[in-house]
């Protein structure tokens, strides 16, 4: 009788016996990594920090007028519209008038360094992926998982490897933002028309020449779109990354939420949105221009 009730219990409530201790396994793996690969993490951390600090310092060192003019001219250059340059410059000035100039520059520094590192990791990965079907088959599900995972999750390994501070913030941002560059580099290279590659081959181009003179140049529009998306994703991580110690606009928003200061939160949030629009429009225009040159290719 008692046995029967126990059996019922087993069916109704999930038995504790069937528990898989995944959390413990991961913890073990993490600490193993931390102990045995400490040197590697030090190197990674130092590199990230060096890049970040240099960018941050130069952004803060430059007079604001110089940056405003620079952004205006660059925007004008890539969008081919003089008023676009004026609007972008005005956005920057607006951020300054809210009193967030320095914080915006810190946020920008985090984004720029995350994008630079993402690009330099993502481009080679994407190229390898385009050249090896097997590698693509392995990497693709990983990328899918990375993009569907809630962004908070990346904070955990970042914290474990690097503690609190700017470095883990950039690290988490990179992990979150790198998939589009990889994916679109792969797609861009694979989309290069076979007829063009064949012609290059027929004239004796070796695989290095085909890669650098044909495939990569023709994949640039796609890669640009990837960079654009990566940048936007990096921006999306700004607030979340501030939870583990990234200073800047994100932290402002976070603090405002904690203290229920709606006005302050709105101001900082607006600044992030302005930054996002500026970066998006400029990288987008760059991608579109490349696209325009190449899409009218001989598609006979």
């Amino acid at each position: 009788m008692i046995e029967f009730r126990e059996f019922l219990q087993f069916l109704v409530e999930f038995p504790e016996l069937l528990r898989i201790p995944l959390a413990e396994w991961i913890d073990t793996a993490m600490s193993w990594l931390l102990i045995n690969w400490a040197a590697a993490f030090d190197v990674i951390g130092d590199t990230i920090l060096a890049i970040l600090l240099n960018i941050e310092r130069s952004l803060l060192w430059l007079p604001w007028t110089a940056i405003v003019v620079l952004v205006g001219v660059v925007a004008w250059g890539v969008m081919r519209l003089w008023w676009a340059g004026v609007i972008m410059a005005a956005f920057l000035i607006l951020i300054g008038t809210f009193g967030y100039w320095d914080l915006a520059m810190m946020t920008l520094a985090i984004i720029i360094s995350a994008v630079i590192i993402s690009f330099s990791l993502g481009l080679p990965t994407g190229i390898i992926m385009a050249r090896s079907n097997r590698f693509e088959a392995i990497i693709k599900p990983v990328l899918d998982a990375m993009q569907t995972m809630p962004s908070f999750v990346y904070l955990i390994p970042a914290l474990m490897f690097f503690g609190l501070g700017k470095v883990p913030a950039v690290f988490a941002t990179i992990i979150y933002a790198v998939p589009p560059v990889i994916r679109l580099t792969n797609v861009g290279i694979r989309q290069v028309p076979q007829s063009v590659i064949e012609a290059a081959k027929a004239f004796g181009a070796n695989s290095r020449q085909i890669l650098f003179e044909v495939q990569i140049p023709l994949a640039i529009p796609s890669i640009m779109v990837g960079i654009n998306q990566t940048t936007m994703m990096a921006l999306a991580m700004v607030v979340i990354a501030s939870m583990i110690g990234a200073r800047g606009l994100g932290l402002e928003v976070l603090l405002a939420i904690n203290r229920i200061e709606v006005g302050r939160g709105f101001e900082a949030g607006l600044c992030i949105v302005l930054l996002a629009i500026m970066i998006d429009r400029m990288t987008h225009a760059l991608a579109a221009r490349q696209e325009k040159i190449l899409t009218s290719e001989a598609k006979v």
């Binding site: 063009v196 012609a199 009218s296 290719e297 001989a298």
Partner: protein, 458 residues
């Protein structure tokens, strides 16, 4: 008036087709039966002298998986459709063999889908052959490693693609100079050479444009220029003129012939245009369903089509304009006269470097054709009667014989066909090659007229 003309044309057409049918049936049937026995066709038409540059033996390409099992099995001789149905594999090239000599202009002709592009690509291993052998300058290209292959592609050959394959991100001059760039030629050196070829193909002034700004025909010329810029010894051309209008097309053909004449390139040229093939080719290979079904000189292909398929091609060679023997006959270099003895006649022939000539009397009446060989026999027999040296069964035609009717005559003899008027006087002579050339010219004139008409209409 117009109706009259039309019915006149109709009559001519009916007559023509009748004659052509008789000709082709008679001549072709014999060769046809012969040819059927040996399968796949061996290339025996190649001339004995000269160095072989490109040689292909039993080359197969089958797209799909498990393709090796098809070759050598009984499936091998099945039709393309049957193989596709049974195995899901597409036979693109089927056991093809041929040889191309140094300096030869070899044309591959066939309908769409007959495997021409696949074949020409395989020569450079842009497509890997399923089976067979490719020898370029005696070396087995199939066993080449990557480095050797690159060397061959850089220094010996170059290729024009049916679909151009231009680099869309490079401007015209960089596209044209691409072969040189790949070779590692410095910019300063490769630009002048590229510039020259650009002018040859008539694209001067377009150097800095990207391909998308060019029309299809212009892009095709960029592709052509790119292939010529590397000054290759072997040129592979896949329908390089198909997108050009008749005038430019003709210009390009002449240009190519000129180059061929001057620097003796070896050219393998794909086309599905018979007139182009007849104009350019030293030899023509006709493909059907992946196999070569006939190889021969333009004359052979025209006068002795091997089967209905080739006949279908050749039928197309009939120009609408009625040309007669009068229009195309030539004046003989020398004539022999009935009062000359065999010794004198032979002397005249040998000093003129000819081995035959027509014999006429004092009134210019044609008596027949005398050959050097027969003259020698006569001299050996100590005969003095030159009339004994006449070739029997000499076909003749009148000045009003239409060109199509000359084919059967030309096909039945090894010698020029004499043109004789109703008084029996010799007016001129006709060579088989002249017939072909005249037909091509007529066709071209027609095309040009069509273009002009279009322009006038517009």
């Amino acid at each position: 008036m117009k109706d009259n003309a039309v019915s006149q044309w109709g009559k001519v057409g009916v007559e023509l087709s009748k004659l052509l049918k008789i000709l082709t049936l008679n001549v072709a049937q014999a060769t046809h039966n012969l040819a059927r026995r040996k399968d796949p066709i061996k290339d025996k038409t190649v001339s004995a002298k000269g160095k072989v540059r490109v040689e292909v033996h039993g080359l197969w390409k089958i797209f799909g998986s498990g393709t090796e099992q098809i070759i050598g099995s009984e499936l091998q001789s099945e039709s393309k459709e049957t193989i596709l149905e049974k195995t899901g594999c597409v036979v693109a090239v089927r056991g093809v063999s041929f040889k191309v000599k140094q300096g030869e202009f070899f044309v591959i002709m066939g309908l769409s889908g007959s495997g021409k592009s696949t074949l020409i690509r395989m020569l450079l291993r842009l497509i890997e052959p399923t089976a067979g052998e490719i020898l370029i300058d005696g070396e087995d290209v199939c066993s080449y490693n990557e480095r050797q292959l690159t060397k061959l592609r850089r220094h010996t050959t170059s290729m024009v693609f049916q679909h151009f394959g231009l680099l869309p991100h490079r401007n015209v001059i960089d596209n044209v100079a691409y072969g040189l760039k790949v070779r590692g030629v410095a910019k300063k050196k490769r630009y002048p050479s590229a510039q020259k070829v650009i002018e040859t193909v008539g694209l001067k002034g377009w150097e800095s444009y990207l391909p998308y700004a060019l029309s299809g025909g212009m892009q095709q010329r960029v592709g052509l220029a790119r292939a010529l810029a590397t000054d290759p010894e072997i040129l592979l051309m896949d329908e390089p003129f198909s997108g050009l209008d008749p005038l430019i097309r003709r210009e390009m053909q002449d240009e190519l012939l000129d180059i061929q004449e001057k620097v003796k390139k070896t050219i393998i040229f794909v086309t599905h245009d018979l007139h182009e093939a007849l104009k350019l080719g030293n030899r023509i290979a006709i493909m059907r369903d992946g196999g070569i079904i006939q190889i021969g000189t333009p004359e052979e292909v025209i006068t002795a089509p091997i089967d209905a398929y080739v006949r279908e091609f050749v039928k197309d060679a009939t120009p609408a304009r009625v040309l007669t023997a009068r229009n195309i006959m030539e004046q003989p270099h020398i004539l022999l006269y009935d009062w000359q003895g065999p010794g004198a006649a032979l002397y005249i022939l040998t000093t003129a470097k000819l081995d035959n000539a027509f014999l006429v009397n004092r009134a210019g009446k044609l008596l027949g054709l005398v050959t050097a060989e027969r003259l020698k026999e006569l001299i050996q027999k100590n005969s003095t009667e030159i009339a004994d040296a006449l070739e029997p069964d000499l076909p003749t035609c009148t000045p009003d014989t239409v060109v199509e009717d000359l084919f059967p005559l030309a096909a039945s003899t090894l010698y020029p066909v004499p043109v004789v008027d109703d008084q029996g006087k010799l007016n001129g002579e006709i060579h088989t090659s002249t017939i072909l050339v005249s037909m091509i010219q007529a066709k071209e004139a027609e095309e040009e007229e069509a273009v002009k008409e279009k322009e006038i209409a517009a």
